[in-house]
Structures are given as C-alpha cells and as structure tokens.
C-alpha cells in the first residue's frame, strides 16, 4: 500500500557518514558532482566506484537500496547506452539496417551511464544518511549570505521544511481516502487512462480540502507562537563543525588529490 513508501528516503543511523555536518556533506556532494563531470579517466571512475563502496560500507546502507534509487532511471540509462552504441563512429561489430554498433560506442555508452549512475548514487547516499530537516537547515545556512541581496533564504528553507514535514501526512491521508473510496467500490487499477484519471477525483477533492484546512491550521498555530519570519531567529540545535567533519574533509581532500593526480597522469 501507499503507507509502505518511504519518501525523504532517510534511513536513521549513527555511522560516521550520518554524523558528518550536513553543510559539509552538501559541499562535498557539490565537488564530487563537478569531479564526476571533469575527471573522466578510467582510473578516476574506478576510484569513484571504490568511494561509493566505502561509503556504503561505512554508513551500513544496504547495497540494494542504491539499486532502488537507480530504478526510476533505468530506462534513461538504457536509452543513453543504446544511442551511444549506435551513433559513435568506429570499429563496427554489428550492422543493423543503417546503424552501426561500434566498440567505441559501447565504451562511451558504458562510461556515460556509469557517470549518470554515480551522480544519482552519490546524491542518494546524501539523502539516505541525512535527515530532510538537517538538509534544509544546511541549505538555509549555505544560502544565508544571499540574504544581503534579497534572497529570502529563511523563508525558502521554512517552506521546504514544511513541505517535507507534510509529505508523510499527505501520504497517509491519501492512503486513508483511497481505502475509504475503495470500500465504496471504487477501483483504481483497471480501465484506460481517461477512466483512471476520472477515478482520481474522489481522492483529489478530499485531499485538497484537507490540505487547505491543514495549511490554515498550521498558519494559525505558527502565528499563535509569534512566528514572524527569520529575522533574529535563533536555533535550538546549532550546527557546529566538529572533529568528525575535519576528518571527513581530510579524507575527501585526499580522494580529490588522488582523482586529480590520476587525471593529470592520464591513466
């Protein structure tokens, strides 16, 4: 059922990776993404894969959770691979009609897919090991210098926090309404697309009504507690850079140096 879905995808834990400051993690993810695009030698790819393995090992995530993260992209990956396979000039292995399947194409396709997969996997490791709240807090901190040029960093982060907070609520609400309508003989699994869309009305209308009511109540509750935006607001949990973070940054720097070194040598 719907209630079996995990959104936010955070798997609580207390590993080294879990304990690294979310700002540091976000920063590292940014550099890793840049690195994946810039550093494209085979040895670099090997290092990236080793890093993924090490991260999975130390954060005690189950490897099949990463496969699950890749699942929605399966078709895109396959498509990318096939396009490259047939559109790259080189040594032909198979000739189909006007297309040539080439060794160079297979290689290029494989590495591009690997690159895409690495992007997803690294981002998933971040969301798997960082609670959504910690992530939005980190985003707010990172965006806070932009406040001076009028970017409402706090408001944006608050909106994200609230949205994330209500995802499980909305899912359970949807689940409940679906069950209620199914008990009244509604069937969501058969019929053509048009019929299925029509059947969503009995779910969406109650869902919208309860969402508006909830938003109203939340606004009232926030006002009752004198919420007035981010100015002068302090935090209950201050984020501090700790030894763990220095350690993480050090390891990260070593990995980057290795990656750049490999690229420079050109293996």
């Amino acid at each position: 059922m719907l209630s079996d879905i995990t959104i936010g995808q955070y798997f609580p834990g207390n590993s080294f990776i879990h304990r690294v400051d979310p700002r540091v993690k976000l920063g590292m993810l940014f550099f890793i993404i840049v690195a994946i695009f810039v550093l494209d030698t085979r040895a670099d790819y090997a290092v990236f894969c080793l890093v993924v393995a090490a991260l999975v090992q130390s954060s005690r995530l189950k490897p099949n959770m990463l496969l699950k993260a890749l699942k929605p992209l399966w078709w895109i990956l396959l498509f990318t691979f096939i396009i490259h396979l047939f559109s790259t000039p080189g040594t032909s292995i198979l000739h189909v009609w006007i297309f040539d399947m080439t060794i160079e194409g297979a290689e290029k396709g494989f590495f591009l897919c690997l690159r895409l997969a690495l992007l997803i996997v690294f981002s998933s490791i971040l969301t798997y090991t960082t609670s959504p709240l910690a992530l939005t807090d980190a985003l707010e901190e990172i965006m806070s210098p932009l406040k001076h040029i009028g970017v409402p960093a706090h408001e944006l982060a608050m909106m994200m926090t609230i949205a994330l907070r209500f995802v499980p609520t909305l899912i359970s609400e949807t689940d409940k309404i679906m069950k209620a309508q199914r008990s009244r003989g509604s069937d969501f699994t058969s019929g053509n697309i048009l019929e299925r869309m029509k059947r969503l009305v009995p779910i969406l209308v109650p869902l919208f009504i309860s969402s508006f009511r909830r938003a109203d109540e939340l606004a009232m509750a926030m006002e009752a507690r004198c919420y007035r935006g981010g100015v002068g607001r302090t935090r209950m949990k201050e984020m501090r850079i700790s030894d763990t973070d220095y350690m993480a940054l050090f390891i990260f720097a070593v990995i980057l140096v290795i990656l750049i070194g490999l690229k420079a040598v050109g293996i």
């Binding site: 059922m1 209630s3 079996d4 995990t6 798997f11 609580p12 609400e173 409940k176 309404i177 069950k179 209620a180 309508q181 199914r182 008990s183 009244r184 003989g185 509604s186 069937d187 009305v201 009995p202 779910i203 209308v205 109650p206 009504i209 309860s210």
Partner: protein
C-alpha cells in the same frame, strides 16, 4: 457459515525495510451474522489493521479471512463480491466526501456496483432515511455546507448505500458532542436491529457495555480477550489487566456490591440500576428501623 471467520491472521507493515513493524500475529476471530461486536484496545494495538482485513483492503501475510464461506483474498469474482458485503466506515468518514451534492456522493458506491441511476437513487433515499437525513431537504445541498454531524451521517449513508451485511465502524462517534454521540450510537443500534452485523471499534466502555453482545480486546497485535462484555467488566482486576477502564455503571455497581449489597453487576440500564439500588437502600433502612 454465515459469519466473518478470521483465522491465524498475521500482518507486518513495511516488510523488508528497517521500518518493519509487526501489526498482527496469530489473530483468530469469529464474527457471527447478526451480532454486535465491539473491538477495544490501545492505540497501536492492531485494531485498525485488523478491520482493514475484513473487507480486503489489506491482504494478510499469513492466515485467512472467510466471509459467508468465501475466502475474500482469493482472486475471483465471488471474492470481490463478498468484499463488498462488508461496509467500512473509517474514522472521520466526512473526510471522504467529494461530490457536488449529498445525493451524488451517496450514489457513488451504488454506481460503482454497476446499478443504474433509478436503482441508485432508490438506495440513496433508503440510506439517507437510515441516517436520518431528510432526502428532499438535503439531496441538492453540497456536502461541504452541512454541519459536522450531518457530514458524518452523509458519509455513513454513502457506505450504507452499498447495502452491506456487515458494517465495520471505526469510532463513529469520535469528535461529536454528547448529543451527536448518543444519536450516532442509537443509529448504529437501529442498523443492528435492522439486521446488519456490527463491528464497532470504540474506546468508550459505557457504549460497549450498553450495546455490544461480544467484546474483543487487542493488545500488541494479539487478541487478549474474546467474550461477553460483562464477563470481563464484572471483574475489576481482569478489566484493569486488559488495560481497559470499567464502564461507569459497572464500576458503581461493583462498589455497591463491595459495600455489602447483593446487586446484579451486569446491568447496563442506568434507570433500572438506580431503581434497584434505591430499593435496596430503602429495604435496609426499613430493616434497621425495626
């Protein structure tokens, strides 16, 4: 067999993830046709999970649910039809209303059953009569303009229009004012009198003592009591052990008995009980005067 037969039911939420949680384990239960069964237990004891198995909203990991002789988790037309014989009124059912008018909303179920408009309208009329909403007055109204209690009755009518043989209600009186609550309980009682089998999830022991002829208590995904309500309530210790509170009247009668009067603690009618106690006191006074 005309009943809902639940055998060795087991169910686990979010199987195979770190969030796995056992909700039901080895639950066996019989709900005979024509009975009024109350289901009690703490929040998280598995009541909601159990009732969702009764019309196939959840399918069990282990065990079976057999309604009137048909296993409802089989993939057959007969099973699908039988699931519809069990009506389900969730908590705050007014949250399921969506149509433009009350009549359309109530007709949603019958139309899903494949009835034509005339037959559906007939059912709408009957269902509204059962929940005491005047058809001519309310049929054209938007369900969102009704009062809280009326909305709930309209939503329940939406379930009754399916003409279920079994009706499962999850705290139908939650959030209603005392009068609304009493009206709701009387309505359920009259449905029961009309031949519908009732399964009532309730935290109100007074209601359970007054109306139910069978009480099932759950704790930690298991059934810890299954019998006549008074079998449990007439024993203060057993009731507390089951994590329940005594009905007010039973508590009073037990105290009276502990004070040395020979009263029938299984009474559920407040007026009769008061009369009986008053009579005994008068009798004792007379005796003392002599």
């Amino acid at each position: 067999m005309m009943s809902i037969e639940i055998k060795e039911l087991a169910y686990t939420y979010m199987r195979g993830t770190p969030f796995e949680r056992k909700a039901l384990e080895g639950v066996s239960l019989d709900i005979p046709k024509g009975s009024y069964v109350a289901l009690a237990g703490h929040t998280g004891s598995g009541k909601s999970t159990l009732i969702q198995h009764m019309n196939g909203l959840l399918s069990p990991d282990k065990g079976s649910v057999v309604v009137d002789g048909t296993d409802i988790n089989k993939k057959s037309d007969a099973a699908r039809k039988m699931r519809r014989k069990v009506g389900m009124v969730f908590q705050y059912p007014e949250n399921q209303l969506f149509e433009e008018t009350v009549a359309f909303d109530i007709a949603f179920g019958p139309l899903n059953l494949g009835l034509d408009e005339a037959a559906a309208t007939k059912r709408v009329k009957k269902a509204m009569e059962l929940v005491q909403l005047d058809y001519d007055k309310y049929k054209e109204r938007s369900p969102f303009q009704l009062s809280g209690g009326q909305k709930r009755r309209a939503a329940i009518a939406g379930v009754l229009a399916m003409q279920p043989d079994y009706l499962v209600l999850d705290e139908p009186a939650a959030g209603l004012d005392p009068q609304g609550k009493e009206d709701m309980m009387q309505m359920v009682k009259s449905l029961h009198k009309g031949g519908t089998t009732i399964v009532l999830v309730s935290h109100d022991m007074d209601d359970i003592a007054r109306f139910a002829d069978k009480l099932v208590v759950m704790d930690g995904g298991r059934i810890i009591f299954d019998g006549k309500p008074m079998e449990l309530f007439s024993d203060r210790e057993k009731t507390e052990h089951a994590g329940l509170r005594l009905p007010k009247l039973t508590s009073l009668l037990l105290s009276v008995r502990e004070a040395g009067f020979d009263v029938d603690v299984t009474m559920t009618d407040m007026d009769k009980a008061v009369e009986m106690i008053a009579g005994m006191i008068r009798e004792r006074k007379c005796r003392n005067a002599k």
